[in-house]
Amino acid sequence: MKSRRDFIKGAATGAFVLGSSAAAERLGLAALFDQNAQSKETSKSRVIVARDADLRGQGTQPDEKRMLALLDRAIAAYTGRDNQIEAWRRIVPQDKVIGLKTNGLGGRGISTHLALVLAICERLQQAGVKPGNILVWDRNARDLQACGLTINTDPSRVRCFGSDVAGYEEQPVAFGSANVRLAKILTRECEMVLNLPILKDHNLAGVTFSMKNMYGVVQRPDELHGSGCNPGVADLNRIPVIRDKVRFTIGDALSSVYEGGPGFRPERLWYPNALIVGEDRVALDHTAWQMIERKRAEAGVPTLEVAGRPPRYIATAADATHRLGVNDPKRIHLMEI
């Protein structure tokens, strides 16, 4: 593991081997996604795991000030910029609609935390994004309300609504096993999407985090569940509009279910009090998987392999057909702060 100084030095050079630089240039984000000056070290995919053991103070919900501070630390470490406005401007364009794709499938007990959404909205606005150009979304009102969010379509404020309002494209798009109708919020409203999944065990896929959260952008996610969601997850993420627009993940590992997911299982709830941040969706999911496995071992629960549901889609996403990122730990530059 590298020191924070080394990491920031690497981040500051802005060398990324993954993602689509063309899409980044279109958004005016070439600084962050600059492919120049790659060194052997900085060509690795960066993943930040930022923790705050005291995030909740005396309560059960994250303290909003500490949440903002945790987010700031994660973004500063990733971008190499301590100035938050400068850091966010390297991540998002200021004059485009930015989507925040949450995950409320698990209901109120295990959904993307409201405090995280609020913290991101605050920083986006400080970076110059107009409130109406921020669109918090998910499958439907129920999922958004599970996160504690309120539905709002007023364009003068931060917007929040689901695909039950905006609908899905009539024409399906396909890659491999995925033949899906995409959410119009993704295809028509948002120029870029920040992915805000919540870390969970998954009854079929093994782990649900960054890539699996894209099941919430299609009309019939249940049709992608075969064979442990493999290659469904990888194929779905390979669809160009998803691969290109969903460019940055701020993963919620503030609380997590390590067994019995993806629904809420209070008896299997745990509090990593962490954010997992990065661009490489495969590296992020590999990192998240390892966190789940460590917790399962600690709790005396069998590995996902033994349980019969290893997240094979992660390796599939890294293969030559998909090229969505890297799952080789040697090629992941993990920084835990």
Partner: protein, 166 residues
């Protein structure tokens, strides 16, 4: 004419409601096995009951629906409850094709739970209670609470109230 207009308006509203329910795969129904507010001391029903047919189950528990489908689920109903302003709980009633289906689901993943005498069989953790009775599987989960003390007792009281209605 005025009557006709009103009737058409009612029909139109009904169509909109059914269409909205179909859009999310759920329907709102009368109470069924769900106790009304106050029927179990301290518990208030805080939402409508939503019902999902087997084919629409993925709308509610995407990722877990397959397990229930394999066990022969017919429908799932869910409602929210609150206990004395201190505990918020979600109550799910899964109506299976037969008792064997309910047993199959209950016996999965409850190795460390405490068995309880309720219905045909049941189990409890500190913040959740699950039991089966005939083809019904009932799961009650506390999603928020001010203090963990007394949560299980409150959930068990609600569970007994539900068992009596099945």
């Amino acid at each position: 004419m005025k009557f006709c207009s009103g009737r058409w308006m009612v029909a139109a509203v009904a169509i909109v409601i059914v269409a909205a329910a179909a859009g999310t795969g759920c329907k709102k129904t009368a109470s069924g096995p769900f106790p009304a507010s106050g029927a179990v001391a301290g518990w208030v029903k805080t939402s409508d009951t939503r019902v999902f047919a087997a084919k629409d189950l993925w709308h509610y528990i995407d990722g877990e629906a397959e397990r229930y489908l394999a066990a022969g689920i017919v429908s799932a109903s869910t409602s929210d409850y609150e206990y004395q302003g201190q505990v918020e709980a979600i109550v799910d009633v899964y109506t299976m094709g037969d008792a064997a289906g309910a047993r199959k689901i209950l016996e999965t993943g409850t190795d460390e739970a405490n068995p309880i005498q309720l219905g045909d069989a049941g189990s409890a953790y500190a913040e959740s209670v699950t039991f089966r009775k005939g083809p019904y599987l009932v799961r009650i989960v506390a999603v928020t609470y001010a203090s963990p003390a007394g949560v299980q007792q409150a959930l068990l009281a609600l569970a007994h109230g539900m068992e009596a209605k099945l």
